[in-house]
């Protein structure tokens, strides 16, 4: 499956993806997973900010979108059985 219809993302789309990812990761109930996903998102977007090659850009963008789907699904699943005790760092 070539290009999967993503094409080269526009700046607006990239920012939208970034914001969506951060919004979803805020919903994780577990402290460590929440912090990790926030940090990993920020680091990944920062590391890729100087990409110029179109195939690399669209690959990174598709990867980001796939991760967004994973995050949405997982945050739903985790909230179905939330832990009864919060992490000590959440107090």
């Amino acid at each position: 499956m070539a290009a999967s219809g993503a094409g080269v993302p526009m700046r607006r789309e990239v920012l939208q993806l970034y914001r969506s990812l951060l919004r979803v990761t805020r919903q994780f109930c577990d402290y460590n997973i929440r912090e990790y996903s926030k940090r990993r998102t920020m680091d990944a977007f920062r590391d890729n900010k100087n990409l110029r090659d179109p195939s690399q850009l669209s690959a990174a963008f598709s990867h980001g979108k796939a991760q967004l789907e994973v995050a949405k699904r997982q945050s739903l699943l985790y909230s179905l059985y939330p832990p009864k005790v919060k992490s000590i760092m959440d107090f």
């Binding site: 460590n32 997973i33 912090e35 990790y36 940090r39 680091d43 000590i88 760092m89």
Partner: protein, 289 residues
């Protein structure tokens, strides 16, 4: 039936003496088994060199790479391993699944642990737990991609932890070699403080004295004893584990709690009082009543 086992000693840095290994290999040696990364002190054994020695003497080499997978580069060709034990939950995969790598060329032959349906060429009878295995595969894939990112981050966190603690208290000893180690495992001994009491005071920090595998016994860890650590320092060791999901705030909190607890215990300790007065505790003649 049975086998003779030769245990190799380790140096005070936790590393195997390679010359001793060469000396101990006999013509009838069936297997050399060395753990790649130690779970208690985090030391990385010189597996490549051991692999070379085993190749020279044509002895199969087994390594327990459960703590090495996804954390340091594992190359079965470079290491010349014939057998390698792997664990799923150590790389953030599901619990209850592991793997044993068996080399194909030259083929290593094993006897099955359980007999039954003869799956996997008679070696592992039984049904594969598909969700667990897929989970472990996905975890391995991720670990490969994230290894460099994780390592850099964890190295920084380890330094933050060690420096944070050393800034506030003295008498802190790192057990095991500082150069050949996995960054996410830090085993510290605090002089004049007892390990279990330290643990009881560190209720908010998930640390262990010794390792989880030896939690049943009260003996000081065999690993530390092998390093030649004094009994009193061995009793006081605790192991900090840092992983992919550890945050800076957690490290800072751990430093704060550890320092507070160590200071509190030392204040209560008559031994520490004597040390501060300049008495050498090893010279004390304890009276017998």
């Amino acid at each position: 039936e049975g086998f003779e086992v030769t245990y190799l000693p380790v140096g005070s840095d936790g590393l195997i003496d390679l010359d001793r290994l060469v000396k101990e290999i006999r013509p009838d040696t069936g297997l050399v088994s060395v753990m790649a990364v130690n779970n208690e002190i985090g030391v990385v054994q010189p597996v490549e060199e051991i692999g070379k020695i085993c190749k020279e003497f044509n002895v199969p080499f087994h390594t327990d790479a459960a703590q090495a997978l996804g954390k340091i580069k594992v190359d079965v060709e470079k290491w010349n391993v014939s057998l390698m034990s792997l664990s799923g939950h150590k790389i953030y995969g599901p619990k209850g699944v592991g793997a044993l790598y068996l080399r194909r060329r030259p083929r290593i032959r094993v006897e099955p642990q359980m007999n039954g349906g003869g799956q996997e060429r008679g070696i592992r009878s039984g049904t594969v737990p598909t969700p667990l295995v897929v989970g472990m595969g996905a975890a391995c894939e991720l670990a490969m991609k994230e290894m460099e990112y994780d390592e850099n981050r964890i190295k920084g966190l380890q330094e933050r932890l060690l420096n944070g603690i050393r800034e506030k208290i003295d008498g802190v000893v790192v057990n095991g070699s500082m150069d050949r180690r996995y960054v996410g495992n830090l085993n510290l001994s605090f002089a004049y403080v007892e390990g279990e009491s330290l643990l009881m005071g560190l209720k908010e920090v998930a640390v262990s004295s010794g390792s989880a595998c030896t939690s049943a016994s009260l003996e000081p860890s065999y690993v530390l004893r092998a390093l030649g650590v004094d009994e009193d320092m061995a009793h006081t060791s605790i192991r900090f584990g840092i992983g992919r999901f550890t945050t800076e705030e957690e490290i800072d909190r751990a430093v704060e709690l550890t320092v507070k607890q160590v200071e509190k215990l030392r204040e209560m300790s008559p031994l520490y009082e004597m040390v501060k007065e300049g008495i050498d505790i090893k010279q004390i003649q304890w009276a017998q009543h």
